[in-house]
């Protein structure tokens, strides 16, 4: 038995090995990415599926990974009963999707059954060994990469196979295991060329069947895929797939389990997409933007915030408190793709889609207290005397955490180096500065331009990066704002920019600031460096920041359902929550995000967008705007769609696409968290980030509604040209609207459709 199915036999049977390699590659492409905890950013959990229409993907994703994409029917019924949308919306959405409105409406009354799908079980599933195999593999991976996250991935399969040849535990569970790996398993490359009769073809294509092998180790697959993401390198994931295949082949050979069929059921997909559209249509009707306005004169102070949805309430409050201040929105890394090196660890402060452009060294950055001796023999006698060290901290923890605000406004400025290690040239600095200024526009160049990065604040939180700035690679945005300011204030850089045709008025001063999104506090950084000539503006700005913070905190308190409280108390409350080690909801992060507005601020100024919109400044009438729009649609909008779909997935299927409850989190170094002793890494957001205290959904799963103030033709041109955004729109992962004057147009599969109010 063993001999006949050995390596040679596999290769002989492996007819069409080339197409098998293609199938395996496309299975690896299905895997999303997962980044280390310190640079965790939200990613699209279905990034590997966007090349196909949503209606088709939903079923395939469910069959392959087991994950739900859309909310259950009951949720829509409930939303409709609560007045979230009406039958009129449903009918117009049904028409758009070419469905019979009567059928869709009747589906709501429970007349619709579930669709049954069937697939052939893997040998391990048939034999009842699946859980054991994936647990064992996950533990092996955790050991290999756990102690140092940059552990070698090359040769992973070979090392694993060598371990299987010795493993006494697997041998005792499945006798013959060691021997199988000694004699019947080849090298990675050759192994993958073998034939795998247990991988069933689905319509002639086995890539989904290969992808379904990642079940149970999908978190590790995503983490390994992330290692080679920018380089489009799939080797790591492929090795993992080879390991899973070898496990299955071994079980097949050793136990020869009977063929078993697994059936799954899924609620009707077309109906749910239709309901989703109706719900989103209704939500978009509430968007009441202002009329287009003539550009105002240059204001005294201009504050540029990150596009992050949490900036919107603060910007509204700031403009309301001091009408002399104008605000803008730009990706929070301010076009500065920087990398910081400290303690031998490198951290990229830039979007996940981008590689770092320049680097700096910063002084040692100590992380939280570590039990220095854990796992070492010295811990045994040492605990007797050192264990008592924790008493003061523990005694302090018996009361509400102190609300003293930690401050970090001053930091030494790193010397920036280029990729060759030389000092970053003036020309390069001017290039980065120009990228930022192109996006901001000349109108933004007030006497004081403040660039506001942002960060969240929480203690004892493995996912603290999820509260920071995604555009800064899951870090606070202060370093990026500082770098941008230092470039833009540099007279040599300004000279160079002048040569490039970009004039910065001589009295314009750039200032960096940081928005603490947990406390709603904005603080000016490196204040001592501001010349006295701009002192009055700075004082005015800080006063406005302070008052706007009070307003935002009050607004947020109302959102929490609390009574209006004294503003001072609100700040203290928030600060002590942020310092509390048991607190799992310091803030709601980007929960609720639903829209992306690409338009001048005049369109939305004074409109309450409830912190649900990403806001990017864009003026179609400016020269060179087409290129700018292309950049916006392919970079910030794609990143925002990742965030949006991450929240979407973690809400709809918290078991497979969320990081689970924090009380079970078990951290694997810098890599990620697992739940309890199940060693598969968890992807997505913790339950506490998207669910209310009582378990209700805090995040409303709406796809990203991108509203662009520009012509339909121009948008179409970009969607055709740039597939990374074109695909998302065409296949229904993102909805695209064109704002032309007062008319709002939705891009549908068949073309542009003018949105009309249901009540009209």
């Amino acid at each position: 038995m063993l001999e006949s199915r050995g390596l040679e036999g596999r290769i002989e049977e492996g007819l069409g090995a080339k197409s098998q390699a293609m199938e395996i590659l496309s299975a690896c492409r299905r895997v999303p990415i997962l980044r280390d905890l310190p640079q965790w950013v939200a990613v699209n959990p279905w990034m590997g599926w966007s090349s196909e229409a949503l209606a088709r993907s939903v079923g395939r994703i469910h069959a392959t990974t087991g994950a739900q994409v859309l909310p259950p029917l009951a949720w829509y019924v409930q939303r409709m009963a609560e007045g979230g949308f009406s039958e009129t919306h449903l009918r117009s959405a049904a028409r758009r999707r070419g469905l019979d409105p009567r059928v869709v409406v009747s589906a709501l009354e429970g007349a619709l059954g579930k669709t049954q799908t069937q697939r052939r079980a893997l040998p391990s599933e048939a034999g009842g060994w699946h859980r054991k195999l994936v647990d064992d593999l996950a533990m092996w991976l955790a050991r290999r990469f756990g102690s140092k996250s940059d552990g070698e991935a090359a040769g992973m399969f070979a090392a694993w196979r060598a371990d299987q040849e010795e493993d006494p535990e697997m041998e005792s569970s499945l006798p013959g295991w060691n021997e199988w790996f000694r004699s019947s398993c080849g090298e990675t490359g050759r192994f993958l060329e073998g034939s795998f009769p247990f991988v069933a073809a689905e319509g002639g294509d086995r890539s989904d069947a290969f992808a379904s092998l990642f079940r149970g180790v999908s978190g590790w697959a995503a983490w390994l895929r992330g290692k080679g993401f920018l380089a489009e390198d799939f080797d790591h994931v492929r090795e993992l797939l080879a390991m899973r295949l070898a496990q299955e082949a071994a079980v097949q050979d050793l136990l020869d389990p009977p063929a078993v069929v697994v059936s799954q059921s899924i609620e009707d997909i077309e109906t749910r997409i239709c309901l989703q559209e109706a719900f989103e249509d209704a939500w978009m009707e509430n968007l009441a933007l202002k009329e287009p306005a003539q550009p105002a004169a240059r204001s005294g102070i201009h504050a540029v915030f990150c596009i992050d949805v949490r900036s919107e309430p603060f910007r509204r409050a700031l403009e309301g408190e001091d009408p002399g201040i104008s605000t803008g929105g730009f990706a929070g890394f301010f076009g500065m793709p920087l990398q910081l090196v400290s303690d031998g660890e490198t951290d990229d402060f830039c979007p996940a889609l981008l590689g770092a452009g320049f680097r700096g060294v910063r002084s040692s950055r100590r992380e939280a207290a570590v039990p220095p001796l854990l796992g070492s023999a010295a811990n045994l006698p040492a605990v007797e005397v050192l264990g008592w060290k924790v008493v003061p901290a523990m005694v302090r923890s018996l009361w509400r955490a102190s609300s003293i605000l930690p401050r970090s406004p001053h930091a030494p400025r790193p010397d920036w180096r280029d990729s060759h290690g030389a000092d970053l040239s003036v020309a390069a600095k001017a290039k980065y500065a120009k990228g930022l200024l192109d996006g901001l526009g000349e109108r933004a160049l007030s006497r004081v331009v403040v660039l506001v990065g942002h960060r969240g604040r929480s203690a004892n939180n493995a996912h603290d990066a999820s509260l920071h700035c995604g555009a800064c690679g899951g870090h606070g945005g202060a370093e990026n704002a500082r770098a941008a300011v230092s470039f833009l204030n540099d007279p040599r850089v300004r000279e160079r920019l002048q040569e490039l045709g970009m004039h910065i008025p001589h009295d314009t001063l750039f200032v960096a600031a940081e928005h603490d999104t947990t406390l709603d506090v904005v603080e000016v950084l490196d204040r001592h460096g501001v010349p006295s000539s701009h002192g009055p503006e700075l004082a005015r700005l800080e006063e406005a920041f302070r008052r706007a913070g009070n307003l935002s905190r009050q607004e947020r308190a109302k959102g929490r359902g609390g009574a209006a409280e004294e503003t001072r108390k609100l700040l203290e409350r928030a600060a002590s929550r942020a310092a509390e080690i048991g607190e799992v909801r310091t803030e709601w992060g980007l929960a609720g995000n639903a829209g992306f507005l690409v338009a001048p601020r005049d369109r939305s100024r004074g409109v309450n967008l409830e912190g649900r919109f990403f806001l990017h400044d864009y003026d179609a009438s400016r020269s060179g705007s087409e290129r700018l729009l292309e950049t916006i649609l392919t970079a910030p909008v794609v990143v925002a769609s990742w965030i949006n779909l991450q929240y979407f997935g973690s809400t709809v299927d918290p078991k497979l696409l969320g990081a689970g409850p924090k009380n079970l989190h078990n951290r694997i170094g810098r890599i990620g968290v697992v739940l309890g002793d199940q060693m598969d890494l968890r992807v997505g957001l913790p339950e506490e980030s998207v669910f209310e205290f009582g378990g209700n959904w805090r995040h409303e799963p709406l796809r990203l509604q991108v509203v662009v103030e520009d012509s339909r033709q121009r948008i179409d041109g970009i969607l055709r040209k740039r597939r990374e955004i074109g695909e998302l729109v065409e296949h229904g992962w993102v909805r695209m609207f064109a704002l032309e004057g007062a008319g709002l147009w939705l891009r549908t599969e068949s073309g542009w459709e003018r949105m009309v109010r249901a009540s009209d």
Partner: protein, 425 residues
């Protein structure tokens, strides 16, 4: 030193348990806010804390055992909070089995003490046992030690303890700080009787040493924060047993409390801890460790010469153990030497002056039997250090040793159905 042992046990253990209990309950109350499990957690958690404090305070054996049962019941319920998770259910079942195994000798001890001495007052029992040459005074400590080993998750009854990482963070913190120490607290109350009985000392030394070996081995191989912490508890508790067996009772109390504080705090903060590469002794070369170790032994010899008395085999074994453990760890350079010296000094002070029992060796036969046994922990430690070193060498021998290290040498007896165990690690 006038600090009496019972005062130490009472004040330290109850104060520390109360502090930890309050911190864990508060943490859990925050973390579970709005969660359906919150009420259950607070009720059972509160009961467990009360049980631990009563157990530490009471001088009555029946009350102690009642508090123990109560705490154990609460611990079982806490483990079952996430009962739908396979691992959590298994941990609870194994814990239940281990506890029932531990109940038998303890109930026997309860009956025997009433029958023979007519009292359940622990202080009176200890006095009467000291004056009583009959077999009862020998059987009681043995029964107590057997019960404590089973209930404090010591080899071979430790399999459930590492599984408790399936429980919520606050529950792990409570269990590893309080419940698991119940057995050692009981032994400390009876320590005068326990150290006089060679068989009970032998059980403590063997089980303690194996627990240190298992806990230390597995803890150093765990990539996950909670797993490393949980396995290390097995070893730490084993070390407390060794200290009790050696007569270092005051130090054992300090250890128990210091470990409870450190471990519960580490669990509560486990999401913030970047779990660094375990074991600082990796980089030390053998001559370096040997030289340091010799230095430490020299210091001990100097102390013996200076005070003019031999501290008993138990203490010598213990000091050798601590010397080796610290010598293998201490970082290089001046800072390393200072750290080594400082730790050793503090440790020495604790051991030399607080609540020590120097046990007279009763007979030659027992002396021959016990003296080498007191060096078993040192041998166990040297074994782990050596295996760790070899397991890092490439090749199949290193690999299979690494597997053995990671499983804690598979020293556990199965406490659940084989079918359940086979599915899970």
């Amino acid at each position: 030193m006038v600090l009496t042992k019972s005062l130490l046990v009472t004040v330290l253990a109850s104060g520390v348990f109360a502090l930890i209990g309050w911190a864990c309950l508060r943490f859990g109350a925050l973390q579970f806010r709005g969660h359906p499990l919150r009420g259950k957690f607070l009720a059972w958690g509160g009961l467990a804390v009360v049980g631990a404090v009563v157990l530490a305070l009471s001088d009555n054996l029946a009350v102690v055992l009642a508090a123990w049962l109560l705490g154990g019941m609460a611990a079982g319920a806490l483990l079952r909070l996430h009962g739908d998770r396979e691992g959590a259910g298994l941990a609870a079942r194994e814990k239940f089995m281990a506890s029932r195994i531990g109940d038998l000798p303890l109930l026997a001890a309860l009956g025997l003490s009433w029958h023979a001495y007519g009292t359940w007052s622990i202080s009176q029992l200890v006095e009467r046992m000291a004056a009583d040459p009959s077999w009862v005074s020998r059987a009681l400590p043995i029964l107590l030690v057997m019960g404590a080993v089973a209930k404090s998750a010591q080899v071979p009854f430790h399999s459930w303890l590492p599984r408790t990482i399936e429980a919520p963070t606050a529950v792990s913190a409570l269990l590893h700080a309080g419940i698991v120490n119940a057995g050692t607290v009981l032994l400390l109350k009876f320590s005068d009787a326990v150290v006089r009985e060679p068989v009970s000392v032998a059980i403590l030394l063997v089980s303690g040493t194996l627990s240190v070996v298992a806990g230390l081995s597995a803890s150093g191989m765990r990539p996950d924060a909670k797993g490393a912490l949980a396995w290390s508890t097995v070893g730490q508790t084993g070390f407390v047993l060794i200290e009790i067996a050696s007569g270092a009772v005051g130090a054992a109390i300090l250890h128990l409390a210091g470990h409870a504080l450190y471990k519960s705090w580490a669990f509560l903060n486990a999401s913030a801890l970047p779990n660094q590469a375990p074991s600082g002794e990796q980089a030390r070369s053998i001559p370096e460790v040997v030289a340091r170790f010799a230095l430490v032994l020299g210091l001990v010899a100097a102390w013996v010469w200076w005070t003019g008395r031999l501290p008993g085999w138990g203490h010598l074994g213990l000091w050798t153990f601590a010397g080796l453990a610290l010598a293998a760890w201490a970082p290089r350079g001046v800072r390393g030497s200072l750290a080594l010296g400082g730790l050793l000094g503090l440790w020495g002070i604790v051991h030399a002056w607080i609540g020590r029992i120097d046990v007279p060796m009763p007979s030659l036969g027992e002396w021959v039997f016990l003296a080498p046994l007191h060096f078993l922990p040192v041998a166990g430690l040297a074994f782990v250090l050596a295996v760790r070193r070899i397991s890092r060498t490439p090749g199949s021998r290193g690999r299979s040793l690494a597997v053995s290290l990671a499983s804690g040498w598979s020293l556990a007896v199965p406490l659940a159905r084989r079918r359940d165990l086979r599915r899970l690690r």
